[in-house]
Symmetry: C2
DNA sequence: GTGAAAGCGCTAACAC
DNA sequence: GTGTTAGCGCTTTCAC
């Protein structure tokens, strides 16, 4: 009854050798239908569960994966992580989730722990992976952010990301088409592929519509959080009092900016229009209602897990240098609504 | 150079037996200063890291802990989990974080995986732990929510929670002292000790100030999220048009309620005052500024980890039925500000 | 179709 | 103070 039994106990109770029990459990090698039935019965009766650690020692790798994530306190990352964890769990892979807080020291340490635990695979969400010389010893999938490798080392990298440039492009286009002509942007860390590409998309949209992008209308936030968004907007509006449109490289920045906007007495969408990125839950709240770019976090996860599992299972350790760019979607909300009459106010019912 | 070496290799290179190497690594047994120095040198040179899986097999438990959490997408839980993970990592315990989505099926499965991996300890955050008959096989700490055991089984339980009743009491008292007389409450799942106690504190404060608690002014939200808070407020205000104070059992509920409040043309704090619970980041935003009850998530974590580690290390498997109730703190913000003049408006600068 | 046995890397007696 | 050795529970040749 207690789940404490070992394969030896099962073999004795079912009158076969431990080798055969192992074959049944792993569905490899040969055994008769009859034997299988008997063994399965005992396993069930004893509520036996194979010891994953012993198996891990024998196979030199444990059936588990490590997930490296900057900060699960950020709803976007939390969502991605949650999906990954669910999908992995369905394939019977438990996940070690490691927060790095963008600290390469912590990242290093977590990586060491994961290595000592012999995880079978790794998923990097927006990771720094600063350790250039380190060769990836286990199958690894990168999500959201391109690892800053020198291309020479780059065998066997899988990258899954959104079409960030298209996202930036859609965002700026939405602002343009809803009538804005002075469109600013709050970015974050343009040294990262993610945010750099969003910025490029923004510039592209402006250029295409005949506007010369002005670097004075772009500000780089210090952190990716509402407080930084708040301060960035304050700076930006000071330099550009005629701002009538704003694209923020993430929703948390947009939320901070929105507060600043209200505070100085401007109205969204009447006096300024706003677009964010990520589609976190807060943006959907009635009364906040920020137009944003939705990334398909569910697809991130399902693709990542599917590929990772196949890399972990197959002997196929072949370089399968793959790159996935997922489409993004504009979620149109009140913050970019055209204002024709006075019917839209804070007090109006939904 | 590669971190692929084994204890055997280290022993050969340093000219001692593997037993001695093991002793040095684990700092137990005896060895000469000189030997230690030599062994350490080789370990460093080879960049050797002990195989945690082999050790785990030998010791019948792996140096890692499992964390069971309902939903890391909820900022409050994310914060607690993040702290736990950091504190555990400092003690060299990697953490398996498992989201249950409040689904006992998933919880069961995660528990099985963790057991197969032989984790040394378990932390339940607000867990259902529905499985009454299951005896805890490893040291376990419960955070936030009392497990619904029958007391007979209750050896060896550690529970860490906030003083939720005091929190509810502080919240209602704040509303009373800022002039409210019709104070409603949005609760969530009062079958849980956490929310039940907040509700009790609320009732206590009302009673003490001579108000008879009216069950019509209390509504139980379907989920713990803004949408539920929004709808709950709509129902509540319909039944109680004179409501001038509202206590929400969590901040996410309060945020939803706030939207509903704005939508029907009421003003916070002018026409209704509001208090939440948890102190998640959104409540602190300028323009939102919801008074709330702060729980010391950092203390949750440090206490939990300290106790768990001691339980995991010591042979002391003794029943140490411990219970910690941590103080909470009222964070006073604009949503409960007394309004004497017209100086406080939405448009006022910070 | 099945069993015997080696061994994954480590810890913990037990010897000396 | 140090070495030898027996497993921990499992997978996987290699026999038969």
């Amino acid at each position: 009854m207690k789940g404490k039994s070992s394969i030896k106990e099962i073999s004795e109770l079912s009158g076969v050798s431990i080798a055969t029990v192992s074959r049944v459990i792993n569905q490899n090698g040969r055994f008769s239908k009859d034997t299988e039935k008997r063994v399965r019965k005992v396993i069930k009766e004893m509520n036996y569960q194979p010891n994953a650690v012993a198996r891990g020692l024998r196979k030199s790798k444990v059936q588990a994966v490590g997930i490296i994530v900057p900060d699960i306190t950020n709803e976007f990352f939390a969502q991605v992580t949650l999906n990954l964890q669910n999908d992995l769990s369905k394939m019977n892979y438990p996940a070690f989730i490691c927060n790095t807080r963008e600290d390469s020291e912590i990242e290093r340490k977590n990586l060491d722990m994961l290595k000592a635990l012999q995880v079978s695979g790794l998923i990097y969400i927006s990771g720094a992976f600063s350790d250039d010389k380190e060769t990836l010893s286990v199958p690894t999938v990168f999500i959201d952010r391109k690892p800053p490798f020198n291309s020479s080392n780059n065998h066997n990298i899988v990258l899954i990301e959104s079409d960030n440039e298209q996202g930036g492009y859609l965002a700026a286009t939405e602002l343009l088409s809803s009538g804005c002509s002075n469109i600013g942007m709050i970015t974050f860390n343009r040294s990262r592929s993610t945010h750099y590409n969003r910025y490029m998309g923004y510039k592209k949209a402006l250029s295409e519509s005949g506007i010369v992008p002005d670097e004075n209308m772009v500000i780089e936030a210090e952190n990716s959080d509402p407080v930084s968004g708040y301060h960035s907007f304050k700076s930006l509006i000071e330099k550009n009092p005629h701002l009538d449109g704003l694209f923020c490289s993430s929703d948390v920045l947009a939320i901070g900016a929105l507060q600043a906007i209200h505070e100085i007495g401007m109205k969204v969408p009447e006096s300024i229009k706003l677009v964010g990125f990520d589609d976190i839950s807060t943006t959907a709240l009635p009364g906040i209602s920020i137009t944003t770019i939705r990334q398909s976090t569910a697809s991130f996860s399902s693709i990542a897990v599917k590929i990772l599992v196949s890399m972990m299972n197959e002997v196929n350790d072949e370089p399968e240098n793959k790159q996935f760019v997922l489409p993004v979607e504009l979620i149109r909300r009140k913050s970019t609504q055209m204002v024709l009459t006075r019917e839209i106010t804070d007090e109006a019912p939904l």
